[in-house]
Symmetry: C2
Subunit: 197 residues, 2 copies
DNA sequence: CGCCGAGTTGAACTGAATCAAGAAACGTGG
DNA sequence: CCACGTTTCTTGATTCAGTTCAACTCGGCG
């Protein structure tokens, strides 16, 4: 089973003395949620950030025709939140729910400030996260603008090989901006091409 | 003619004592660039952020087939930079050039640090910019995933009414992820529908 | 003038969506 | 452990939004 404690994450990703945050972390809220449980619904104001220690979340919208569009998958070691909603205090247009039973750490603004006061390095980490997020979104836009369904799928598999195995295929399709049937065909086509070779 | 000094921008957008930054600002590089001039090319590492005081820049990629894909337009009052490249020191996949003769302020990391030291409020502003950028990118992804060419066009017109008038139509098409011919038809269709009503 | 880039239009084409049906895999309760 | 319903995935037939290609118009500008 996949698991990554926030502490382990910090030791890997921030340049910090070991266990700096232990005191704060101990007081922080950890939630165990079941497959299908919601952490955020359209219309609510998002007041938390979530760090996934184990399990898998999805962050998505539902349009007027009832179709869902996945903006992000968050397996262990990832953060999710609607930054627009939480930062600007606007009602969110998005949902967050669990694709698998999951264990998440819940941050509110206050926690973040406390952690930053405690260790400026945490602010640095936070800044890096914002920048990583921007690169990611930007590359995805570029891909949506320039690549075919097949190219986008190949890119997805290359970038998130593990997710392909854990996420239902129709949700990957939604992430890629194609229909489930479309993705199924793309895969068949690729398989047969690889076979012939 | 459109013009917005950085000073005026700060007075509007940051909660600061008037002219706090004057000393730093005076030492900062201001560039006057001509239509068609480049500020960043694919393969270079982006070491600057640009604030547009007047004119109009575009931020875009060129794919293997030679097609350009516009990620962002930057008229006066906007920042542009490749945050992935500048933050992570990676060669950029993008270009920045001028659609109109423009006047831009050039920031490097050092300037940003100095300004932040001088006034922590500048750090706050910077943070707000990052969050705004993320919301923007996220909403655009959502739109690309869920909306038709026509819907994306209407959204663009609503969000950037002025840009529609200043940017050549084929570049708007590129921003929307459709062909110039496609956009032309969408507009004709809309015009005829409005006329009939 | 004559050229050139920008925009438009038409006709043919195509990648991907839709609709409909069936097969496989999965989990839950009896 | 089986039986059942539900969800996931696949496949085929058809349709459609948007592309491609090519020709033509228009306005600016040397």
């Amino acid at each position: 089973m996949h698991y990554l404690s926030f502490n382990a994450y910090l030791n890997e990703n921030a340049d910090l003395p070991q266990d700096t945050f232990a005191p704060v972390l101990d007081r922080m809220k950890r939630m165990e949620i079941k497959k299908g449980d919601f952490l955020l619904r359209q219309g609510e104001i998002c007041t938390y950030s979530f760090f996934v220690e184990s399990g898998l979340l999805k962050y998505y919208s539902i349009d007027e025709k009832g179709k869902t569009h996945v903006l992000q998958f968050a397996p262990e070691g990832w953060f999710v939140t609607d930054r627009e909603s939480s930062f600007f205090n606007r009602p969110s247009s998005y949902f967050i729910d669990a694709l698998e039973d999951s264990s998440v750490l819940v941050f509110n603004e206050n926690d973040v400030c406390q952690l930053t006061d405690l260790q400026p390095q945490f602010g640095v980490l936070n800044n890096r996260l914002l920048h990583r997020h921007i690169s990611q979104l930007q590359n995805r836009i570029n891909l949506l603008l320039s690549a075919s369904a097949e190219e986008r799928y190949l890119e997805f598999v290359k970038t998130y090989p593990d997710l392909m195995l854990r996420v239902p295929q129709h949700l990957v399709a939604s992430y890629l901006g194609i229909t489930p049937e479309g993705l199924s065909r793309v895969r068949r086509e690729l398989a047969s091409r690889n076979f012939k070779k």
